[in-house]
Structure formats: C-alpha cells, structure tokens
C-alpha cells in the first residue's frame, strides 16, 4: 500500500517534469553548471525581490520559448543578447550625456562544447513551463510590410524606446530584437508582446494593451527583421 503510493507520487513527479529524468545528460550539466544563475523549475516566489536577486533569465519554459538550433549554436558561441545585461538596473551608470552601460559589470557567458550544447538543448526543449504560457498557433504567419512594421515598432507603439531593431540603434533595456526570429518561436514572440507579465510577472516591459492586428503585425515584423538584419 505504502509502496504503491510512493510509486504513484514518484510517477506523477516524473510525468510533470520529464526533462528532469536522470537519463538525460543535459539535465546533469544544467544542474551542475547553470542553476546558480538560471531557474529550470518554476520558483514559488515570483516576486520583485527575486527579479533583483536572480543572476540570469529564467529557463524553466525554455522549450516554449527558443528555437533549438539557435540554442545549440549560442551555447557554443554565446554573444550578448541584452545590451545592458540582465538586469539592466544593475549594469547602468550616469554618463556625460545620458546613462551608459557599465561594461565592467558584465561578464562573458559560460561556453559549452558541441556535444554538451546538444545535450543541454535537448534538456531545455523539454522544459515547456506552465500550460497555456504561450498561445499555440496564435501567430497567423502573414507577411507584413517592413515599412509599416517599422513605423508601428518605432513611432506608433514605442517599442524602439527599449529595443533595438538594428544593431547600434534603439533602446538598451530590452533584448535586441533583430535576432529574435532566429532565437524565439513565433508564438512566444506573439504571447510575450501581448502579456509580458504572464511570462515574467515583474518584468520591466509593460503590457501595452495591443489589439490583435498590432500583435500580428509586430510579430511578423520581428520575424522578418531576423531574416534581413540578424545575420
């Protein structure tokens, strides 16, 4: 009786987190080298204080966020994604004109071998996060005019204040977006723009109450940017 209960609850635990099964070597690497900075299971305390103490972005929903090919590539050759680091407030200082990134506070990211990167990418892709985090099939895949997209991104919806759509221009507190199409799944981009707080409760990108056509247009624009700029 006792034993079967234990087996059942063990089974449930495994079913909830298949990626944490011991037979995946990538999981071992994550636990040994990555969890000091990245959460690979949803933390209980999703507070603003936690945002200030965590050392890297959360990875517990990586499988709903990233394209696997990009993960494999980036983990071997990591380059900066967030111009002002994570999180920006810890890496900016007053400059002569405006605040600048304090480069001395930013360190290089750990690098993995090809085999390790592939194993870790498998483990990360199995971490899909809470159900319903990303609206599957939400992005309709329509082509958008780049001129229209740029106008909405910069002038009409103000995204350029925090993001760069081209290397060297735009805001610095959010991730560069000219590589987002290569990095991220289209439905994740859509879902994030629609409600950033649903993904990361206290994140410093506000929910901008965008209508459906805006969400489609901006997602399409960001995806197409990657094809043209993100090389």
């Amino acid at each position: 009786m006792k034993r079967s209960l234990l087996a059942a609850s063990l089974g449930a635990a495994f079913a909830a987190g298949p990626a944490l099964a011991a037979d995946n070597p990538g999981t071992g690497i994550l636990k040994a080298q990555c969890i000091s900075c990245h959460a690979i299971a949803k933390p209980d305390n999703m507070t603003l204080d936690r945002l200030w103490t965590r050392k890297g972005p959360d990875l517990y929903y990586a499988g709903s966020k990233f394209n696997k090919a990009w993960l494999v590539k980036w983990m071997q050759e990591p380059v900066r994604i967030r111009p002002a680091g994570e999180f920006y407030a810890k890496h900016v200082k007053a400059g002569d004109k405006e605040d600048v990134v304090d480069e001395s506070t930013l360190t290089a990211h750990v690098k993995l071998s090809k085999a390790d990167a592939e194993a870790v990418a498998d483990a990360l892709m199995a971490l899909t996060g809470p159900d319903g985090l990303v609206a599957k099939g939400a992005f309709k895949g329509d082509k958008v005019s780049m001129a229209m997209g740029a106008m909405f991104f910069s002038k009409l919806r103000g995204c350029a204040a925090c993001h760069s759509a081209k290397p060297g221009t735009g805001g610095a507190s959010g991730p560069e977006l000219y590589t987002a199409g290569e990095r991220l799944q289209p439905d994740y981009i859509y879902s994030y723009i629609k409600d950033p707080q649903k993904v990361d409760p206290h994140i410093w990108m506000p929910t901008l109450n965008l209508a459906e056509p805006d969400l489609q247009r901006l997602t399409g624009y960001i995806l197409q940017l990657s094809a043209s700029e993100g090389k």
Binding site: L48, A94, D99, G171, Q197, W204, P206, L208
Partner: protein, 132 residues
C-alpha cells in the same frame, strides 16, 4: 547641481536602495515618511531605464528617443503637472495625457495604490508640490 539635489538623487542604484532604506527608517521615525520603500523599488525597476539613474530624464534608453523623457528632478517642469495627471500618465501612458507614446502605460504592472505612492515619490524627487 546643488547639495539638496545630490542628496535627493543618489548616483548608484544598489547604494541608492540601501541608502534610501536607511533614510526611510530615520525619516519615518522622525518626520513622517515622504515616500515608501516600495515606490523607490518600483522606480528603480521600471522608470530608471528611461528617466535615468539621476532621475533627470537621461536613462540608458534615451540616446535615440525622438521625445525625451521628463526630467523628474526639475521642480518647475514637474510642479506644472497636477498629481492627477502624473498618476494618469503612469497608469495609462503618455497618449492618455496628450503626450508621447514613448511614455508607456504601467497600469498592468502596478496597482493604483503603488502608482499613488510613486506620485508621492516623484514629489520628493522634484522637491516640488503641484502648483496647479
């Protein structure tokens, strides 16, 4: 920049948070708290990216911005804006008060209570009351 301003606008954020926490403990014991620790934390998280470490409208995002953020340390400019407009701008964004879309809406991130506390904090930063 005069003495008062540099006291009001600490140069480094982590230090600022600590300092302010210390100040607050004294302030609330002595003269009544001018702003809450939560307001300071929210400002440092959400507003500094555009309004700047020194609260002077020169955040890390401003280099390429077509409309520059308001200088929150400017007593004259901030004094001209009534409390209700400040709260409205924070909650519903620049467009709601006929200003630039580059000032985003924070109503989905902070409660009305938190926004009210931020207004009080902004009055502390500008060292100004509303003249309207």
């Amino acid at each position: 920049m005069n003495m008062k301003t540099s006291l009001r606008i600490p140069a480094f954020l982590p230090a600022a948070a600590l300092l302010a926490a210390g100040f607050m403990a004294c302030a609330s014991a002595a003269a009544g708290t001018p702003y809450t620790e939560r307001a300071l934390r929210n400002y440092d998280t959400y507003c500094v990216q555009c309004h700047g470490v020194k609260r002077n409208g020169r955040g890390v995002n401003t280099r390429d911005m077509a409309v520059q953020p308001r200088d929150h340390s400017d007593a004259k400019g901030m004094g001209d804006i009534p409390d209700e407009e400040i709260a409205h701008a924070i909650k519903d964004g620049g467009l709601a008060v006929n200003k630039s879309v580059l000032m985003p809406a924070w109503g989905n991130v902070m409660s009305d209570e938190e926004i009210k506390e931020l207004v009080a904090y902004l009055r502390f930063v500008c060292n100004c009351g509303s003249t309207k």
